[in-house]
Symmetry: C2
Subunit: 331 residues, 2 copies
């Protein structure tokens, strides 16, 4: 890496290109998809679904990648680790990260499955339902984790989705160990309630012993603790992580740290167009705030602001510089 | 082809995937690009420009392809002929056409240059400036022209851009000859003032002897006749084509047929976001109207309506079914 200076956030995740299309509720039912969640699909199923869906728009995505793009958009120094293949969509993914100022130099796979993609169906209620073909993401392994890179970032951010490709779990654990050894913070998003279901035991162990900053929405934190209501989940998580930032859609978010609980309203939005990226961008705001030493309520407001920007248009990455929008909050 | 029934429009053009990004005026100047026009670039230059530009959104494009998608969106039966390669962007292009109901079965190139792309810079004034790498489009030739397909379409629509790849000119002339032999109409768009500059003599010959329905904007028709004002160009063209549909941006359009001249207002738009596809969709409305035997003023209004829809959002293809919007015009 040319620049050896300190970084604010390094994110690690499944590198995906999003294919967004509008769909009716009936299409989801016909395809046996559960609205608002992420489904893993293999290549033949991805092709079948793609053939059945309407014309698409391709935009770089990937949960943690969207988050680090958000951090960079706030003015933070961000880097990304994730695997694409040497193909056209891999080029698109790399270009779009670098063009937003995010460092990215994970070696591309020269063979194996193509660059991963996420087929996103946006229903008339602006909800997104995702079908992910992991593709080359499954090739990410511990060999892709650069000790010096992880060590010089204030916060390491890991997506729960990274537990789906088996080799990536090792990369995940290796990165977390390096970060802690360097005295850095480790943050995790639980990503999706189905994802929590697939990896619940591992996630519980991580949250109880290895994670400093946890991101989850209501469904995910309830799935983690197998409880039916948010308050019960809140009581459980507060003893484990230094900070938990829990999102509740239109009800805003709750940030918990030890005995302190901060309730932050959602940022107003004229019209919700597409919720893709809402959680990713909320995390971006909180992580940027934390990396700059801001207090928790301010971090929460930055998260709400970034989420509001991204749900007001199609696509999971900000369309205007968040640094510009954040002026009134950061003073 | 499975369906052997009559078609409304067959379009032939350069098959391209658009890469859209926002750019400041200064970026255009720095890259020596003339705003509002189309520049041809080779692969190294396309790469250089792509590296320099911001994060993009990929959407299927191609001038005539956008037009036939518009015809299908009005409810017309449309088919497309154009060449992509067997690669990821080629798949995207084919998917997006078929998903909108346009027939498309031009064999993909198994080798040679990758699927063509058009780098589109949208400036804050909503103007688009295009840099096209033709890619696999240059492989389109007379062998790709299916006599039966061309013969059963009421209107053959050809884009002027098709004169840029040399082999495509032969495909162009072959298709026009088949259409006329079958008693069909041949229509042409002049595409771009620089394109007219490159092929002026050939275009003049086409317009004077082979084209029944001509599309051009003010700059293009003036470039064709090397005259400085619209009225002079109008006087020249009316003797040549059965119908000329001439667009004038916010000033609407003028449709000329023999001694009749119809002036059609632009359709109102709340906010112009991105002019990409305005001309393509105007042509879609006029062609759909003509294929249904509508009178010229109605055809012009359908064109204005379709253009208004497409300039109100990012991207060159309609986001809502034009058939739905056209109700008040078609009664």
């Amino acid at each position: 890496m040319a620049d050896r200076g300190e970084l604010d956030v390094v994110g690690i995740g499944n590198a995906l290109v999003d294919v967004l299309t509008h769909a009716e509720e009936g299409f989801l039912a016909h395809q046996s998809l559960v609205k608002g969640t992420m489904h893993l699909v293999d290549e033949p199923r991805a092709r079948e679904l793609y053939d059945a869906m309407g014309p698409g728009v391709e935009m770089s995505g990937g949960s943690a990648a969207n988050t680090v793009v958000g951090v960079a958009s706030f003015g933070g120094r961000a880097h990304y680790v994730g695997k694409v293949r040497e193909d056209q969509l891999g080029e698109v993914f790399a270009h779009d990260l670098r063009a937003t100022g995010v460092g990215y130099d994970t070696p591309r796979a020269a063979d194996g499955p193509p660059t991963g993609r996420c087929l996103i169906l946006v229903t008339p209620d602006a909800q997104r339902t995702m079908s992910t073909f992991l593709g080359a993401s499954v090739r990410l392994g511990p060999g892709d984790i650069d000790r010096s890179l992880i060590s010089r970032a204030r916060i390491l951010y890991l997506e729960g989705y990274l537990f789906d490709p088996p080799a990536a779990q090792d990369a995940f654990r290796a990165a977390a160990a390096i970060a802690h050894a360097a005295g850095r913070k480790v943050s995790l998003t639980l990503s999706d309630p189905f994802c929590v279901g697939r990896h619940r035991k591992a996630f519980l162990d991580l949250v109880e012993h290895h994670v400093d900053i946890l991101f989850a929405n209501e469904a995910e934190i309830c799935a983690l603790y197998e409880v039916g209501d948010f308050d019960a989940a809140l009581a459980r998580v507060r003893g484990h992580c230094e900070i938990a930032a829990l999102t509740r859609s239109a009800k805003g978010s709750v940030l918990v740290s030890g005995t302190r609980v901060h309730i932050v309203d959602a940022h107003p939005v004229d019209a919700v167009v597409d919720t893709t990226g809402a959680g990713d961008l909320y995390a971006a705001g909180v992580l940027y705030g934390l990396s700059q030493g801001r207090d928790l309520p301010t971090c929460g407001r930055l998260g709400s602001l970034a989420a509001a920007e991204v749900i007001a248009h199609v696509g999971a990455r900000p369309m205007v510089p968040l640094a510009q929008l954040a002026g009134p909050i950061l003073g």
